[in-house]
Assembly symmetry: C2
Homo-oligomer: 177 residues x 2
């Protein structure tokens, strides 16, 4: 039998437990994301995979916000976040704190997601770009590496919250083999 689990059977941790539990050494950086829907959805993904923090940059809106809450469903309470006027400022702070910075984009010398190597003691910031423009070239120039999600169809443009899900799932498993 495959009885659906009730909410109280899901082994969900409390917000306090989330704050004190060991995190995946990943920070998600949102570079000028326009859609409040996408921002909320990213918080939920960050909660699910114990992501260390979400950095909201430029025009990216911040909680508390009714439209973010609609898709975040409370995950803005568990996941740590910071706001930066520019993505460049966020990257400066990340580098000071020994994070490697990887932009998620399609570039000349990108590494495909499945082939991206993770070192055990690494801390990694992953940068996702605007819905229309993608990650800005100047942010790419500041990054240590570029990760590309291989795509095979007519569009080559996954929704940004879908991209975050795919990349975080893959990297979570590389950090927890």
């Amino acid at each position: 039998m495959n009885r659906k689990l009730k909410n109280e059977e899901l082994n969900r941790i409390s917000i306090e437990e989330f704050k004190s539990t060991a995190k995946t050494p990943i920070i998600i950086v949102l570079d000028n994301i326009r859609s409040l829907n996408n921002i909320g959805s990213v918080f939920r993904t960050a909660d699910a995979f114990l992501i260390k923090a979400v950095y909201l940059c430029g025009i990216t809106a911040t909680p508390p916000h009714r439209e973010i809450q609609k898709t975040a469903l409370g995950a803005t309470e568990s996941v740590e976040w910071k706001y930066f006027k520019s993505t460049g400022e966020a990257i400066d702070l990340l580098k000071e704190n020994d994070y490697k910075v990887a932009a998620i984009e399609q570039t000349e010398n990108s590494t495909m997601l499945d082939q991206y190597p993770i070192n055990e003691n690494e801390k990694l910031a992953i940068v996702f770009g605007n819905e229309v423009k993608g990650v800005e070239q100047e942010v790419i120039d500041l990054s240590d590496s570029i990760i590309e999600i291989p795509q095979f169809g007519t569009k080559h443009s996954l929704n940004i919250s879908v991209s975050v899900g795919v990349v975080v799932w893959e990297l979570y498993r590389k950090f927890n083999p």
Copy 2:
């Protein structure tokens, strides 16, 4: 240098090429999905990973629809889709056509996504449920297996289009090792 690729450098295939190219033997089944945003986003993911078809069931809206188009960005033109009054009808047809049916849910005897085995000659339908209720118990009872996305935070409820992205990425790679 990591110059961003221009659209014309992305090796995107045409709609005609998409129609005639070999597909990933996966059909995505949407069981009463409410959000037009999510439906459109699923089409874009299906386009990216050469998914065979999307089955839209129950209250799930169908193209052409302005709000689906906003997030599908044209992927409803490449990806094949069918509408079914009920998810049960879709599953009946899938089984007649030798598809194994896997529901994506959190149940008593679910298999974690990373451990889900794929046989080389298998055809697989993956069922995603309503934003609030998840996959209906009667649909779970009709399924051959249950796939669970392991989650570790306070919510255990990824956005449905994010779930589709994570599962399709993982299964695409299992079908193309």
